[in-house]
Structure formats: structure tokens, C-alpha cells
């Protein structure tokens, strides 16, 4: 993976998850939660803009954040499969968010030490947001896991269903350490610890590691991705060259 691809993958993770959360605006379980979800979506879209702009700068071909978001094909997207999994119900949404946040914050913390000041700068800003996201999603994992029998089962099932998508977060990448200053594998212990602690407080079991899905970072996505991109990209693609 080149530096361009690495930065793209940071941007794509935030973009796709932000896009998914933004679809929930106005459909949450309670008004306060609608507002919270929109805040997290806003943070993620904001983060995506920073990484995609930087990616365009690194590439040096004159592509803007919008060119990269709206005019790339699915095979060129570098996000992990976890973020493109459907919103499902509130337990699915929060399980996906928690598994992501626990990793995202750790990754951004590591990137703060990057030798590239542009990467360290973006990571520093977004890490604060990610910390808040983590406390929000962990809070909900605990409330649902330790809530009613129904919510407990829903949350356990959601964590189990999403577990096979967590392996990809830590796929070793030989070039990664040198290029962006953080090794995906190194943050695994912290992530494991966070997940174990929160699930324990939620009276939930940590699923056993089995076969892990992968491919997103290489452009091999799930069936959900095509529809998501079709919806997100259709206006700019229908009006080539238009400004909005």
C-alpha cells in the first residue's frame, strides 16, 4: 500500500461510516439520540474531508476531496468491510460503532506520533472526537447488554454478527509502519482490552475468533457497498463538471 492508499483508507473509513450514520438522522429511538448520532456523523464526514484532501495532495493529480468521494469506483475504495455493514437496528448500529470506535481512537492516537506533520495534525484533531464517540457507543453497548433480556440478546447477536469483520482492522501491512508511523497490528492489544472490558460490564461474551472477512482495504467489498455508493454518488455523476 502506498502512502496515498493509506491516507485514502483513513478517509474512506470515516466517509462510509459517516454516510451510514447520516442516513439515520430523524429515525433514532429518541430525539436526544438523533442529535448525538448526527454529531458523530458530522465528525466523521469532517474527518473524511481532511484525509481525502490530504490524499489528493499526496497524489498530486489535482483531485479534490469531492472528486475522491464521488467519482471513484467501488474497487478504488479502501475502507474496511466493517463500516459498510448495514445499519440494522439500534443494537447493530451501536455494535458496529463501538467495535470501530475502540479501534479508530487507538489508531488516531498512534498516528499523532507520525513523522508527517500533516498526518499527525489531522489525527490529533480527530482523536478527540473519536474519544467521545467511543464513550458514547460503549455506553450504549453497556446499557443494551445490561438492560432487558431482549436488549441483551439483540446486542449479543449484533456483536457476534460483526465479529468476523474485526480481523481486517489489524491486517498487517509491511509498508504501513514506515509510511504513516503506526502499525495496525500494534494497537490490537489495546482494542482487545477495551472490547473485553466493555463487554464484561455489559454482561456480554466476547465472541471466539473464527474465520475473519477481509478485502475492503484492497477494494474487494461486500454487496452493500455498491448501493451505498450509488446513492451517495449519483448526483455528481449525473451532472459531470457541475459545481454545487
Amino acid at each position: 500500500m502506498s502512502l496515498f492508499d493509506h491516507v485514502l483508507s483513513l478517509g474512506d473509513n470515516a466517509l462510509i461510516l459517516g454516510q451510514q450514520l447520516s442516513a439515520l438522522t430523524g429515525h433514532g429511538p429518541v430525539l436526544e439520540e438523533d442529535i448525538a448520532t448526527a454529531n458523530i456523523a458530522l465528525d466523521l464526514v469532517g474527518e473524511a474531508r481532511l484525509w481525502l484532501s490530504l490524499a489528493g495532495e499526496i497524489e498530486g493529480a489535482g483531485r479534490s476531496e469531492d472528486d475522491l468521494a464521488f467519482l471513484r469506483d467501488e474497487i478504488d475504495f479502501r475502507n474496511v468491510l466493517l463500516v459498510e455493514q448495514p445499519n440494522g437496528d439500534f443494537a447493530d448500529t451501536m455494535a458496529r460503532q463501538f467495535l470501530f470506535d475502540a479501534w479508530h481512537e487507538a489508531l488516531l492516537a498512534a498516528l499523532c506520533a507520525s513523522a508527517d506533520p500533516r498526518i499527525a495534525g489531522i489525527a490529533g484533531k480527530c482523536r478527540k472526537e473519536a474519544l467521545y464517540h467511543l464513550s458514547h457507543s460503549a455506553g450504549w453497548v453497556i446499557r443494551l447488554g445490561d438492560g432487558t433480556a431482549f436488549s441483551h440478546d439483540r446486542m449479543q447477536q449484533a456483536v457476534r454478527n460483526l465479529w468476523p469483520y474485526t480481523g481486517e482492522l489489524f491486517e498487517a501491512d509491511a509498508g504501513g509502519t514506515a509510511l504513516i508511523g503506526a502499525n495496525a497490528g500494534d494497537i490490537r492489544p489495546l482494542w482487545r482490552q477495551r472490547v473485553a472490558d466493555t463487554l464484561a460490564r455489559a454482561a456480554l461474551e466476547v465472541p471466539a475468533d473464527r474465520w475473519m472477512q477481509g478485502g475492503g482495504r484492497r477494494g474487494i467489498h461486500s454487496e452493500h457497498m455498491g448501493r451505498l455508493l450509488a446513492e451517495m454518488q449519483h448526483i455528481p455523476r449525473s451532472h459531470p463538471g457541475a459545481r454545487w
Binding site: V30, E32, E33, I35, A36, N39, Y132, S135, H136
Partner: protein
């Protein structure tokens, strides 16, 4: 199931003023109330500190007591500096 309790939200702005009541919201627990207060009432850099209090835990003065509570202070005009007339030529007072 019962509705989540109502919380009153107090925010201290960055200007060094005391916590000020800004509104209310509903939340199942205190942690959620603080998170919700952050998302609802500080979207535009309004604050650096949040207090939340269950609305049911607030004791308030009653409107019927308005006169005995607040009218007596009106007659104590000497508590205000403008009550005292300064003689000509006094500075820094």
C-alpha cells in the same frame, strides 16, 4: 415502560461566568444526560463545563412567597454604592 427522567442542564461558558441554566432534556442516567447535554446544548462552542441535575431534585421558591422573599431587599438602598453621594474631588472610589 416509564419515560426517561427530565434533567436540567447548566453550562459554564468559556468567558469565566458561572454555570447558567440553558434548558432541559431527557436521559436514562447521569452519564447519558451529560452526553446529551453536550450534543444538544454545546454544538456551537457554548461551553467548557456541564452540570446536569434531575429536574425532580430541584427545590424552588414558590411564586406565592414572592413578596416576603424579595420585597424586603428593595428597601435596603444603602447596599448599593449609588446611594452615597460623593463630594466633589474624590477619585478612585
Amino acid at each position: 415502560m416509564k419515560e426517561w427522567p427530565l434533567w436540567e442542564v447548566f453550562i459554564r461558558s468559556s468567558h469565566g461566568l458561572a454555570h447558567k441554566h440553558v434548558g432541559s432534556l431527557r436521559a436514562a442516567d447521569a452519564e447519558m444526560a451529560i452526553g446529551n447535554a453536550r450534543d444538544v446544548y454545546t454544538r456551537r462552542n457554548e461551553g467548557v463545563s456541564i452540570w446536569v441535575v434531575r429536574a425532580a431534585d430541584i427545590a424552588a421558591s414558590s411564586p406565592g412567597d414572592k413578596e416576603p422573599l424579595f420585597d424586603p431587599a428593595r428597601s435596603k438602598v444603602y447596599r448599593h454604592p449609588t446611594f452615597f453621594e460623593l463630594i466633589d474631588g474624590v477619585k478612585h472610589m
